[in-house]
């Protein structure tokens, strides 16, 4: 028997909950409580207080919003700010209690403040992806890139019907200025046709594998779903393990909705703690077409490329932090060359790719637009402090 029930027995009064239910007009014990109220002034006063209290609080004056509150909202939205709101109801009951949840939120804020702004990609491992993280086009995170100069027209229109399912293999090497060469990772890029929410889409799965500084394996994988016809990005998942010394695993999930990219980041610390961060950013209308890193070696398969062709695309970042949302990329055809890689010899268009102040040479096959080789146009600082050139080549398909 509960303590309140025992007290009820000992005092002869209904329990507090029974009185509350009576005020709420719930049928449980209603007759017994009503009978008690007839002869108990204290309980009648308690019930009367509850009812008067309810009436009184409903009559309390309501505050007025500040005159500039709506303008603040509209100004912030116009500047690209977005926010993920919680669902109307919690999705599932969590096991943790309120104070612990508050502690975790505080801990997350502290951790994120120390590592996300640095965007410490796992540079001791592989250069990972194609465009954004030091492979085909641009180097890793940092400040938002200025728009390419002079302004170029957007690449496209992209025709998704030109794509076909395929699997491509690449290897990356780093050559320093002394001529010393080292392995810098290998990638598999697979394109296949699937259905998403009942609609046919293209799915691109890219996995870079390399070595960490202590000879462990580093994996960075991205799966991207794009609209079948015009190749608009629809959703993306990124998995990085390890992310850095502090975080053994990081995952990013995104959905591209209208002019926004929404999603979440989840990182698992090597000491067991977890960090979660919502993603809600606006993608500028004039940035289209948007690509992600996984799609970079395939995108030119879907557009017409020819002599003196020059266009722009935008790489969508992880969008967890405001300076990692969009990366404008300029593409210019500068010639035609025959290129030999371990996968074969191909007639190619040679392009100059400019992004975030870095320039690369990039070769795509004339026949199908597939990227077969990329190389830094000039030596740059590597992750290990040396200066050199990174090169990615097609090794098989």
């Amino acid at each position: 028997m509960r303590l309140s029930a025992l007290r009820s027995v000992s005092t002869g009064h209904p329990t507090d909950r029974a009185l509350d239910r009576y005020v709420d007009r719930e049928p449980t014990e209603r007759a017994r409580v009503a009978e008690h109220l007839v002869r108990c002034a204290a309980c009648r006063a308690a019930v009367a207080f509850r009812r008067n209290l309810r009436d009184a609080v409903c009559r309390l004056p309501q505050p007025e919003p500040s005159p500039d509150l709506l303008m603040r909202v509209l100004t912030d939205r116009a500047s690209g700010q977005r926010l993920i709101l919680p669902n109307a109801w919690p999705e599932a009951r969590r096991a943790r209690a309120w104070p612990l949840a508050a502690g975790l939120a505080a801990a997350a804020a502290v951790v994120l403040a120390t590592w996300l702004p640095q965007r410490e990609r796992p540079h001791a491992a592989v250069p990972s992806d194609w465009f954004v993280s030091g492979s085909l086009f641009v180097d890793a995170a940092g400040a938002q890139a200025p728009a390419p100069e002079p302004p170029l027209s957007p690449a496209g229109p992209a025709d998704g019907a030109r794509l076909r399912p395929r699997t491509l293999q690449y290897v990356a090497r780093w050559t320093d200025t002394t001529g010393h060469e080292r392995f810098d990772g290998r990638a598999v890029v697979a394109l296949d046709s699937v259905r998403m929410d009942g609609a046919p889409v293209w799915r691109v799965a890219q996995t870079w594998r390399g070595e960490t500084g202590d000879h462990g394996e580093h994996v960075e994988a991205e799966t991207l779903w794009v609209a079948r016809a015009d190749l608009r990005p629809l959703a993306r998942g990124v998995h990085v393990a390890p992310y850095n010394r502090a975080f053994g695993r990081l995952e990013v999930t995104q959905r591209f909705v209208g002019d926004s990219v929404l999603g979440a980041m989840h990182a698992e610390g090597t000491d067991g703690h977890e960090v979660r961060r919502p993603i809600a950013r606006r993608l500028p209308d004039d940035g289209a077409p948007y690509l992600t890193d996984a799609f970079a070696p395939l995108f030119l398969s879907a557009v017409d490329v020819g002599p003196r062709w020059a266009r722009r695309v935008t790489i969508a970042g992880w969008a967890v932090v405001p300076n990692d949302v969009v990366y404008p990329v300029a593409l210019r055809v500068v010639g035609a060359e025959r290129v030999t890689t371990p996968a074969g010899t191909f007639d190619c268009w040679r392009l100059l790719v400019t992004a975030r102040g870095r320039v690369l040479d990039y070769w795509v096959r004339k026949g199908d637009g597939v990227g077969v080789r990329s190389r830094d146009a000039a030596p740059r600082a590597g992750r290990d402090g040396t200066r050199g050139v990174r090169e990615v080549v097609l090794t098989g398909e």
Binding site: Q62, R82, A97
Partner: protein, 178 residues
């Protein structure tokens, strides 16, 4: 002065336009709902400044959030639940000590509660008790719904409501029951 929530159902076009981020549509929804949402946020947080931030955040994220709104219930109810959750998240993260002076323990009869004293007494409740009191007694949620919103059990919701009412009764000079 902002308009009261409309008695008639909202135009589907207004929701559709808001989903696209149309500022005019967002402003229209704001005009219809901001005042009620601010009142809810103010009661939950016990702070006008926090409440304005809550309403700001709700409308900042509303176009994207509306894409999850299935239009099965009233928009006003859906907005209130979302606002309550944003306010509760803010409360959890805030963790501040409350510095609200208790009203003088003057003789307020239960049927003539002074509005200022009552508001002060509600503001002086601990966050956990005030949240239950506001959601149950003012917003009309059931204990099961309050429990879901606060991530507590139904029994805990009932206990907290009773403690909140008892604290208010003491603060307002009604004495203790029994």
């Amino acid at each position: 002065m902002l308009a009261s929530p409309p008695a008639t159902p909202l135009s589907p076009d207004l929701i559709a336009h808001t989903r696209t981020g149309d500022p005019a549509a967002l402003g229209e929804l704001y005009a219809q709902h901001a005042r009620a949402l601010l009142a809810l946020a103010c009661r939950l947080t016990g702070s006008a400044a926090d409440a304005e931030d809550v309403v700001h955040d709700v409308f900042l994220g509303l176009p994207e959030a509306l894409r999850r709104y299935e239009e099965r219930g009233s928009l006003a109810s859906w907005l209130k639940r979302v606002t309550a959750r944003v306010a509760l998240n803010r409360l959890r993260a805030r963790g501040r000590s409350r510095e609200v002076a208790l009203p003088p323990n003057a003789a307020h009869s239960a049927d003539a509660l002074d509005a200022v004293a009552l508001q002060s007494a509600i503001d002086a409740l601990p966050d956990a008790l005030r949240a239950v009191f506001v959601l149950k007694e003012i917003e009309g949620y059931s204990h099961a719904e309050v429990a879901a919103l606060l991530d507590i059990t139904r029994g805990a919701s009932e206990v907290r409501l009773h403690r909140a009412v008892a604290a208010l009764r003491r603060a307002l000079g009604g004495g203790d029951h029994r």
